[in-house]
Amino acid sequence: MSKVIEISPTTRHEGHSKLVLKVDDQGIIERGDWLSITPVRGIERLAVGKTYEQVPKIASRVCGICPIAHTLAAVEAMEASMGVYIPDDAYLLRIVLQCANRAHSIALHNILSLPDMYIPGTDVKINPFTPEEPVRSVAKRIQRIREIAQTIGEISGGECIHPSNPRIGGLYTNVSPRAKSKMFDLAKEGLALARDQMEFMIAVFRNYQKRDWSEVGGMQVEIPATLGYHNQGYMATDPVYGTSSLDENPRWDPARFNETRPWDWYMGEMEITDDYPNYPIGGTTPKGAKAWPQMEACSGVPLYDGQPVEVGPRARLAQFRGYDEKGTIGQQIARQMEYTDSFYKIIECLDALNTSASVLADEIPQGDGSLGWAANEAPRGSDVHLARVKDGRVQYFSMLVPTTWNFPTCSRALTGAPWQLAEVVMRGYDPCVSCATHMIVVDEKNQLVAEKLIQ
């Protein structure tokens, strides 16, 4: 007889989500459902009728962690619909912004993942906030990397959180030569720190992989060698930046995309049979309570070629670099491998940047209502935005956000893990749940017909 355990809310990631886990007598997950319980944003509705400049700014507000990705993807979806081509130097600065955000995001995620890990050679879990060494210097390095990346984002993007500089047709302003050299120096400093940090994190993850057990809420659980394995595919559109329908050979295809309702995909109503009050933080849901993933999930289930896919660092590395280490640790290591690349790319783009060139397209057609889309490789995966702009107004707008893709894939990856490590698997995806909470309804012919909040 399987038991049902619910972890709600999950912690150490952005947004509100929960895990509903069917486990066997040994506590091993037979089927897990990971779902968003952040209320639906309704951005798709808000966007209709607004100007093309407003919508990317509004879209970026769904989240404070990934607004760079949303701004860039939304701006570029508008540009794709309107047929706007941006100057090279604007593109370079957008890449700088993108990479700065990625480096910052990896560093931030280090803080979220470290508490699951052990100081190598000990049975002591890492508390990133301890004043004690060796952790203290690592924490300081993480914060410095964040600071560097955020400052680069601030200069290139106008703001490191909701960037103000990107606009349809390029950017509002190029940077001064002084600003360029400031970013360059920061990137050089960041590169050295990122290399050390990457090596440290990889050592910590490898150490976890070699361990037999982990302690969670006073319970000692075995770490399976296949922690977080799944057989879903990967989806990535670019090693660094993205792609759009304006590209000669777009690397994403809306025809391969489909979406099912949570009703068709998640588990039905169940009663929680077991509870563990000592599980951090605050225990699991008390037994007797009801869970109904089908009804509670606040995001659709996007499919690519009919299947849920994984997006994110490992998907990028698998697709473009031939990297394929499975499981949670493989995924975490892939993320660390993007650390130095982010800074190399910033340096490369700044080298090429002409600070006195125009960063705004000469011509900005106002749109004829054709469908345009842009995919941005956000830190946590492909962020695809779709838009139709006609005569300067947005007629249709939709966001397919990284964590939305990852919800069903990660749910599959839970199978076989002890339930106590379900959150460790989930955190491997660096989830950003508030971004991911969207509903789109697709008809049988795979045509996007309407967006609809869940009934």
């Binding site: 601030e154 703001e159 959180i161 002084r178 400031k182």
Partner: protein, 292 residues
């Protein structure tokens, strides 16, 4: 530290002028703002300054810009009697201009805005700690650009393009032109062209600046300087040590601090009255007092 109800807090007050002839030549009075910022730039106390220059497309229209060299600062010399929204660049200076230590020149109200922004940095993330030097100017009132056109072209019968200098002093608004002709307008005429906001303004000598300066109180070619904050004191002392300015005790010059106090008292007393009047304006729906 002197604490004065009308002149604010200051550690010292002197009459001063720049020792740099180049600066003096194009400056309104003693070239204090330009001289001090140029010194701060050369010393690395600031790495750029937000000042105003004339919009190249419209005569006498001030436009803020970020100067990062003394040469660029020299563009900014002199007073233009309409608003230059210098604070509009305060964030951008730390962004696409890449400054870490920002200098800024502004009117008393802009100093208030600046300090408020430093205290409550809404929309000014990472800006407050990058303000390295704030030089305030004296200000009785100010005119929208449209008013300047009206005053110079209609009342002064002078094409704005031909004007080389404007000044307010001795109870008159002075317009100097290329051909040397001088037009004076009594301030009675100019009053209705002032910005309405200036009528509730309770600061004359930039009480919140690090250093404030203006022509009132000192002879032609000199400026009155209040050194106010610790930062202001540091920079001023260094600039003095470097011989950037020539000074005289304020007590020894005519008309001296008495005139500054008199004008400050007049402005503030008059504006307090308009605040009170505004509070009772209309029936049961007074205008808001911006200070409370």
């Amino acid at each position: 530290m002197v604490q004065d109800n009308f002149l604010g807090n200051y550690t010292s007050c002197v009459a001063a002028r720049s020792t740099n002839r180049g600066i003096l030549a194009g400056s309104q009075d003693g070239g204090i703002a330009t001289g001090l910022l140029a010194f701060a730039l050369e010393q690395g106390i600031i790495d750029g300054a937000i000042v105003s220059m004339v919009d190249p497309s419209e005569p006498w229209k001030p436009m803020p810009f970020v100067a990062t060299s003394p040469e660029e600062l020299y563009f900014a010399r002199g007073t233009r009697y309409s608003l230059s929204p210098n604070l509009a660049l305060i964030k951008e200076a730390t962004r696409s201009y890449g400054l870490d230590k920002v200098g800024i020149v502004g009117t008393p109200c802009q100093m208030q805005g600046l300090r408020k922004g430093q205290l409550y940095p809404i929309g000014l993330r990472d800006v407050p700690d990058k303000i390295a030097l704030a030089v305030g100017i004296f200000c009785m009132e100010n005119f929208p650009y449209q008013s300047i056109i009206q005053l110079v072209e209609d009342h002064g019968n002078t094409k704005l393009e031909n004007v080389v200098k404007m000044d307010i002093g001795k109870g008159k608004f002075w317009i100097y032109t290329e051909r040397g002709a001088v037009v004076q307008l009594p301030l009675k005429i100019t009053h209705k062209y002032e910005q309405p906001g200036c009528h509730v303004c309770l600061d004359y000598v930039s009480n919140l600046a690090d250093v404030s300066t203006g022509s009132v109180g000192t002879p032609d070619g000199w400026s009155t300087v209040f050194v106010r904050s610790k930062k202001g004191n540091d920079v001023w002392a260094k600039a003095m040590a470097a011989g950037c300015f020539e000074t005289k005790p304020i007590e020894e010059v005519k008309p001296g601090l008495d005139l500054v106090t008199k004008l400050a008292t007049e402005k503030i007393t008059k504006n307090r009255k308009s605040l009170e009047e505004r509070a009772k304006f209309g029936i049961g729906k007074g205008l808001r007092n911006p200070y409370i």
